[in-house]
């Protein structure tokens, strides 16, 4: 690159690509610029976002190139000082927007491998002590303390142990795993290698959903390039095959073993009998991605973030009908209202917010009246809701909550693995009953049936798919009862119907 050649930085993750980043990058090159493809800042509503000398140009199109190159184009100012970023506490996403995802030089220059180097100089027990001190809880949704899970695997006696990364990010409203894998793949690999050292495992698998071809490609390339650095630890990247339920840890293990992705009954826990019957650490992408920072900076430094028993930061994903959608990493304790209204800027449509769904298809719908709720595990549990994978999907006042309740059941019926009866039959029966309600037939009786059915699914299902589907259904009923009852008059919801 010559001295006069302007340096342009454009993200190359799936979100940027879907907004036309590749075409834009090629056009910049044709215009004589040197283009670096970097990770995404997570300011999705501004994509494709062009960076030149730290200054951002939002939603750029090839026609804007001359003005960006001669400096006359309207800019959003310094990207790093953008209010959406300035309010964040980025630990896991510290490198987002700044490094080229597959560049080993960029990674090492930005603190990469510090955690692994430090961990390898420590005894496994000492690594696990730091993990326990950090208070890190599983970011996949269950919130189980990672250090305790790791210790169980460490203490298990076996000739072989595994680290499995659950990258089957199927929940609508979530994309943080995808951003880690497409933007900072070495961080995830480093976290897995540290886990391997801590529990005595020499092999790791990353199971990525097939709907993420870009993440799969990046992770494969990254695993190949850093093989010598993480050796003797080995990593293999595996693609899922379009089954949502494989995000459940035991069905994921079955899938890796070449079986139907059916849920296993627990016990035995995967920590004792996991992949191929061997002791296995199975953690979500965000859990393992938090590890390098924790080991590099110490467990206490991580635990200093957050509130109560929810330590550290959470990469929150603002999605759906939200004005400023993207990735917002912050310590636990921020309120839902701040997230949706102040940071998210309300709806993209400009209409009033009516509800948000937190935690994906199995998460509860929360009405605006509860927006003072703090974002942490305990407050959500107290309100009969879940943080899950921390996706927040925003809906405006046109949403038909009875239709959304029906969809939750329909989705469960579509994705149920079929192993347990409450989920397999309950979901299909639930759709039938909801159809009766939507048609305005026998609403009172059918509402009782739905509530009873939800109860059976919640307490009788083997895993979270059947067990948590009642959350969206029952929360929709609890907070938006009018959407269900109004059917009895007209057969349609009084307001404009979403479908």
């Amino acid at each position: 690159m010559s001295a006069e050649q302007p340096l342009i930085r454009i993200a190359d993750d799936a979100a940027a690509l879907a907004c036309g980043a590749d075409t834009l990058a090629r056009a910049f090159e044709q215009a004589g610029a040197h283009v670096e493809r970097v990770s995404s800042w997570g300011l999705h509503w501004l994509e494709p976002l062009v960076e030149r000398d730290g200054i951002g140009y939002a939603k750029a199109a090839p026609a804007d190139i001359p003005a960006i190159l001669d400096g006359s184009a309207p800019s959003i100012g310094r990207i790093e000082e953008h209010p959406f970023l300035a309010r964040q506490q980025r630990l896991t996403f510290a490198r987002a927007g700044k490094t080229r995802p597959l560049s080993l030089d960029d990674y090492a220059a930005a603190g990469g491998w510090e955690g692994l180097t430090k961990a390898r100089a420590m005894r496994p027990e000492a690594v696990i002590d730091q993990m326990k001190l950090s208070g890190l809880r599983g970011r996949g949704g269950a919130g189980f303390p990672a250090g305790i899970k790791w210790d169980t695997v460490r203490l298990a006696k076996a000739d072989r142990k595994y680290i499995v990364c659950n990258a089957d990010e199927g929940d609508s409203g979530t994309f943080a795993d995808r951003m880690v894998m497409e933007g900072d793949p070495y961080m995830l690999i480093e976290g897995m290698a540290i886990a391997g050292h801590a529990v005595g495992a020499s092999k790791g698998y990353v199971y990525i959903r097939s709907e993420y071809p870009h993440a799969i490609a990046k992770m494969r390339a990254a695993a190949e390039r850093c093989a010598a650095i993480i050796a003797p630890f080995e990593i293999e990247i595996r693609a899922g095959a379009g089954a949502y339920v494989c995000g459940e840890e035991t069905s994921l293990l079955n899938s890796l073993e070449g079986r139907r992705g059916e849920v296993r009954a627990k016990p035995p826990l995967p920590a004792l009998k996991g992949l191929f019957g061997k002791p296995t650490v199975i953690n979500n992408v965000l859990t393992l991605a938090a590890v390098p920072w924790i080991i590099a900076h110490g467990g206490e430094a991580y635990a200093a973030y957050g509130m109560g028993r929810s330590h550290g930061t959470m990469p929150i994903q603002l999605a759906g009908n939200v004005k400023h959608g993207g990735l917002f990493e912050v310590a636990f304790g921020i309120t839902l209202g701040e997230l949706v209204n102040e940071i998210g800027g309300g709806t993209a449509s400009g209409r009033p917010v009516r509800a948000v769904q937190v935690g994906g298809p199995l998460g509860a719908y929360i009405p605006v009246e509860q927006f003072d709720m703090a974002f942490d595990y305990e407050s959500f549990a107290h309100a009969d809701a879940l943080i899950g994978h921390a996706g927040i999907t925003v809906f405006d006042d046109r949403v038909d909550m009875a239709q959304m309740a029906r969809f939750a059941l329909e989705f469960c019926a579509e994705e149920s693995c079929g192993k347990c009866t409450p989920c397999r039959l309950g979901s299909t029966r639930g759709v039938e009953v909801m159809d009766e309600i939507l048609a305005g037939r026998d609403v009172e009786t059918n509402m009782l049936l739905i509530e009873d059915l939800s109860d059976t699914m919640k307490y009788g299902s083997l895993c979270a798919l059947g067990g948590f589907t009642p959350y969206p259904v029952m929360s929709a009923i609890r907070h938006f009862r009018g959407d269900f009852d109004s059917r009895s008059v007209s057969g349609e919801k009084a307001m404009e119907v979403a479908e």
């Binding site: 879907a18 199927g170 994309f175 693609a239 073993e257 079986r259 769904q357 996706g391 405006d396």
Partner: protein, 148 residues
């Protein structure tokens, strides 16, 4: 020309089998290879895999039929996968479905996918590995029109 099925599967199995792990661990990668190469997993392929991995055909069939990605019959038409999960619903994807079907007119297969991880910029769709966001009726129609 497609490679000879038996040879192709043997090659795929050799690549994915791990000495120190049960053979069936290679099953999903093998099925992905076959699906990508031939567009579907045929009865003949199931038989070949069963022999190679020392599993019954019923077991392989059980796995093939469990996962959405594996087809028993090839799809001859180009496929557009439209996300109709919650976040895209919140951004109005349901309003686009009927018109998309009309434009597709049976020449393009419009399939539903639940989430492409583009939840802040939906409605979204995927054609092959290429992703498209911020779809409205016109952009979706143009996308489908270019495929037909």
């Amino acid at each position: 020309m497609k490679p000879v099925l038996g040879e192709y599967i043997a090659q795929s199995a050799a690549q994915h089998r791990r000495e120190d792990e049960p053979a069936r661990g290679a099953l999903l990668p093998i099925l992905h290879d076959i699906q990508a190469e031939y567009g579907h997993v045929s009865e003949e392929a199931v038989r070949e895999i069963a022999v190679l991995l020392n599993l019954t055909r019923a077991e392989i069939h059980g796995v093939v039929s469990f996962y959405h990605d594996f087809r028993k019959q090839p799809e001859e038409r180009p496929v557009l996968r439209l996300c109709r999960a919650e976040a895209c619903k919140a951004r109005g994807v349901e309003h686009l479905v009927n018109a998309a079907m009309t434009v597709a007119a049976g020449k393009v297969s419009i399939e539903t996918v639940y989430c492409l991880g583009l939840c802040s910029i939906g409605p979204s769709a995927m054609v092959g590995d290429s992703v498209h966001a911020r779809l409205d009726a016109e952009r979706l129609a143009a996308l489908i029109g270019a495929m037909a």
